[in-house]
Symmetry: C3
Subunit: 518 residues, 3 copies
Amino acid sequence: MAKLLALSLSFCFLLLGGCFALREQPQQNECQLERLDALEPDNRIESEGGLIETWNPNNKQFRCAGVALSRATLQRNALRRPYYSNAPQEIFIQQGNGYFGMVFPGCPETFEEPQESEQGEGRRYRDRHQKVNRFREGDIIAVPTGIVFWMYNDQDTPVIAVSLTDIRSSNNQLDQMPRRFYLAGNHEQEFLQYQHQQGGKQEQENEGNNIFSGFKRDFLEDAFNVNRHIVDRLQGRNEDEEKGAIVKVKGGLSIISPPEKQARHQRGSRQEEDEDEEKQPRHQRGSRQEEEEDEDEERQPRHQRRRGEEEEEEDKKERGGSQKGKSRRQGDNGLEETVCTAKLRLNIGPSSSPDIYNPEAGRIKTVTSLDLPVLRWLKLSAEHGSLHKNAMFVPHYNLNANSIIYALKGRARLQVVNCNGNTVFDGELEAGRALTVPQNYAVAAKSLSDRFSYVAFKTNDRAGIARLAGTSSVINNLPLDVVAATFNLQRNEARQLKSNNPFKFLVPARESENRASA
Amino acid sequence: MAKLLALSLSFCFLLLGGCFALREQPQQNECQLERLDALEPDNRIESEGGLIETWNPNNKQFRCAGVALSRATLQRNALRRPYYSNAPQEIFIQQGNGYFGMVFPGCPETFEEPQESEQGEGRRYRDRHQKVNRFREGDIIAVPTGIVFWMYNDQDTPVIAVSLTDIRSSNNQLDQMPRRFYLAGNHEQEFLQYQHQQGGKQEQENEGNNIFSGFKRDFLEDAFNVNRHIVDRLQGRNEDEEKGAIVKVKGGLSIISPPEKQARHQRGSRQEEDEDEEKQPRHQRGSRQEEEEDEDEERQPRHQRRRGEEEEEEDKKERGGSQKGKSRRQGDNGLEETVCTAKLRLNIGPSSSPDIYNPEAGRIKTVTSLDLPVLRWLKLSAEHGSLHKNAMFVPHYNLNANSIIYALKGRARLQVVNCNGNTVFDGELEAGRALTVPQNYAVAAKSLSDRFSYVAFKTNDRAGIARLAGTSSVINNLPLDVVAATFNLQRNEARQLKSNNPFKFLVPARESENRASA
Amino acid sequence: MAKLLALSLSFCFLLLGGCFALREQPQQNECQLERLDALEPDNRIESEGGLIETWNPNNKQFRCAGVALSRATLQRNALRRPYYSNAPQEIFIQQGNGYFGMVFPGCPETFEEPQESEQGEGRRYRDRHQKVNRFREGDIIAVPTGIVFWMYNDQDTPVIAVSLTDIRSSNNQLDQMPRRFYLAGNHEQEFLQYQHQQGGKQEQENEGNNIFSGFKRDFLEDAFNVNRHIVDRLQGRNEDEEKGAIVKVKGGLSIISPPEKQARHQRGSRQEEDEDEEKQPRHQRGSRQEEEEDEDEERQPRHQRRRGEEEEEEDKKERGGSQKGKSRRQGDNGLEETVCTAKLRLNIGPSSSPDIYNPEAGRIKTVTSLDLPVLRWLKLSAEHGSLHKNAMFVPHYNLNANSIIYALKGRARLQVVNCNGNTVFDGELEAGRALTVPQNYAVAAKSLSDRFSYVAFKTNDRAGIARLAGTSSVINNLPLDVVAATFNLQRNEARQLKSNNPFKFLVPARESENRASA
């Protein structure tokens, strides 16, 4: 209850806190949707190290929501080459672990390689770069507009990353097409094909498809002060188009990264897999431990931070730096707060501590700009939920956001209703498909699998919902006589409507259903 | 003068305070209006307990302003059934008194019925719900996007409520159609007809037209844990479509509400009627008293709050709660401020204390987000004005807002000028009609009735105006030589232009006119 | 380096500081630009005292950027008559010096003429008006939406002022056409012709083309309390249309203005001319002195403010007033901060102190809302740059803004690349032409003249860039192995790419080129 209240308060802050959606509206009539569909990706681009699947952003339900959806799969040792977008992105890690990095212009290179490493090159070798982060299954990664992003899979399990691009964000001053600007390669950007346009001209020019390929050689030679061979590589000349956006790194990538992270990750990964296999309700111990590991960067007291599992000596300096960053953030005077040390990911997966929890029904975890402040800038938030068999979430609507529900595991029956009272969706949503629930449309779901799980991307950094049934719902908060008169009910019937369901959001299966499904 | 300064300062705060309009723009050329019209509602939907009239939101002048206008009339004991909208609403109470409620998700049910009431049902009976508010003539009520709203008329006088929906608000992430989501009933929502679309399909489905009617029965049975009969009522099955959005409540609604409010209201109502009949300039005594009554919730010292007219004992607890709320709001540290206790209405009617006042010309009262903080979220404000016969308000323009002027009483001659210097409106605006004055278009008016009164809805929470004539106007603030050179005048003529009109905004009738009209 | 860091930090503040672009997006596909052009003005309207040239705002690249561009030339003693716009404007003074004024509704008339002046009119004469400002070459002037603006050239050198109007600003609630509302005259507003519309009707009515001409005479007679003759002048009746928006003031304008400003200006002007003629890198002495003069209003310690060059006595009172204003702004408690005393201009021209400086390559100076707070409201910023022959600025992109580059002097070769990797511009930009660089498009330039200078208007008040080459660039901040894998390079080649260019933004000509050009 405290958690739900917290959820609701986050909505309250929104109201008077001066936080607005700051998005473009769809064009006239673009949201007159008489039928929604649970959509699969409709295009697939293979790369050397994986593949990128995209949903057509011109599909009416995506146009209404103003978003573009894509899914990248990275094999072991695959690198998604750096790119930036004209709109903010929220990336959910459906599976796997690895590294990601972003480049914030003007921020210092805070990761430095110790001089003695790679002695084969005779102590001359050294590198400096901006912060590199570890990601794991269940993470939400926030990628701001125009910020260069790359990711890398150093594990055997393929990484699957689902990405929502909020094209109508006010951070995008271009038109309503998702655009990827690649720093390298010689392949078409993944959403370009959907630009209904004379494609002929483009293919004729075919200058290389990355941001450097359009410059003349002499400009780049001067700008980088390098030879022609390197400029050719920069421009992706003669590169095989098949290589694509995700490349294989022979021998793996050697990245400067604090060692304890990796150790932590491996433990975390093991537990998650355990957890996925078991079908009992969440075990407390594992969950709590994971939580600690995931969020200790921010919440753990300093001296108990690690438990002697790693070499303490080596990264003392590094930690000193990051703690300075932390204390700075606590002061929060608006002047020292920089994006250079901002947290860019948060785990909302099954191993995180849920916001809504019912051992017989399921769990829900949300991330808003109150949890991950960088989302204030992106104006996006997300929700991860999982439902037991025949459990449901009650009819509700999004107050201030469109929601794109992507099913991760299992399948569920969903119903969506528009303002005419028409059913615009009544069907199954199964793993790998996405369904748009526009702002204010009512939605309810019942799981058809032992565990149905989903992630919902929401186009507001403090997305709020209003529940239409259950304790503390809209109906519950109306005066009894208003309920009776509104629905043409007797008072005792109205009282049943207000109070018969003792649950807030997640309703367990009825006992009969439980037995049937057992 | 102090008041006008205050008005202007409120504009100044806007400038550097980081407050922006946050609205969508009309599509290209949508504001090339060569002619405006004073429009009446063009559609009328009768209900059991009243009627709803609407203006076509596709009318060019409403499309330019990005708003939808409607007017509801509630007979005695009529309840406007709960609904929510995809965009914020400002409702002005043109006539009548009653109750309204909103449901804020996550806020507690703070109104509780004492256990001993309604003993007929054997002490078992009890109700809890969110705050219920009293409204009276002249109130502006702010209804945020997605928030469930209902209203009820408990008096003999019909309630007339004019509602502006700001479709282009950034709080609306859907397209540019006003949408009402009804919680109950079996009738078409009032703006649906204007969606130029194949209407055939909709009628065929006709699933009930409320937000529950699109769900399958089993979903609702599980979500509410009630029987099929109640679900049928919830879905509006078999309900007569004629019943509509406004229903009659037999025997009246019994709502938990502090008793003193009602007493206050009745006194207030009497005075207002007196006031309307008299034609002398506003009498000080009555006005001051009314003000106290209307605004004492916020401004009156605590211990003098009531004058022994009501049972003090009964609502002591309630008041304790509301005062805690008040002191919280004074602290205003951004953390304790919640929408749960936010003020949602303010009286700007003839009985409120005016911001601009000239006993010979008229009065103007505005409400902005400085008066009613919830408007910061809605990004709307309003103005109520009344002019004596032949008095005028000087040519001026809205700096940062579109303005929709709705005439309440009498008639006036208005002139509106666009950037080409063309007269886009020169005509009469009479009670019940609405005229859009787009941003930056110049407007002036002269009353043709003994008392012409209007309400102007403005699409900015800190709407500001620039006056083109009179003291402190634009002309007045230009250097004399600039005025002379600009208008090709002699210096003494320019000086006349700058200083001949001693009034700021409201100009009384010339003496000759006064006599003629007497 | 410190300066560049500062520049970058300003971007960082943006990120978490809750500052967003707050602009409309172009309509679908409006930014699919396959080719950009360096455009000249395509229309020219002669006036009595000068001329206004405009670029067609319907040109695809301006429509993508959502801006309108125009250029006004004022001869000696010419007054640009007061007007206001439906969108914010940034005006860059390409040449000349003079006065400008704005009228902020509700602000007091703070400039008062001493009673004893102009005794010819017998001491009766006196004037009061709002603040009048001096401008000089290199100034950026910020004109908010709806604020009346005028300017005047009191020097022999013609004033050339380039103005960017941000039509898609959220401060504009009308459609996407730039609109000028003239207070006087009988001439068409400069952008009206571009409204593709039946022009016939307009010409027939031809009511005078200023904001007063559309009102009926009796309204204006009442509003101003002046005679018919003055009203005729107000409405521009019988005025020659040729007179236009810029009028000649016979005998010059007499404006209340503190005397020291003028003295300062004349010195400043002389120095600037010197500076333009010399071709050596900037001489320290002159630059420092200019800076002081231009910015002392804010930065100079009080008692050392002037160096006895002007009559100290005369303006003591005035300065007292302005210092009160200053100390108020330092307190900055949000309550005393008013637009009435806000700084509206800042010099970014060649005599200002640069933000990025390389004596062999050139200089860049930016103005954002951190330098000129009123830009927070306009959501615009600007950059002035100048490059020596064959010097280049490295490939980079605008993170969060569209940029409109207007060449002031000389010519340069620019290349612009879109997300497909296509060259959308590879050509010369010469003085007087403008080129749009959409958000996220990469751009680089090399000067072809001894000194190429430009001003870039940016549609974000904290526009940030990401450099693609050089120290601290995107490439530089990526891990070495990521660079190697991304571009398919050996480690040592990747290291060259990361570190061979020791410059941050401005790269001097290679030695060979220098010699060739010498």
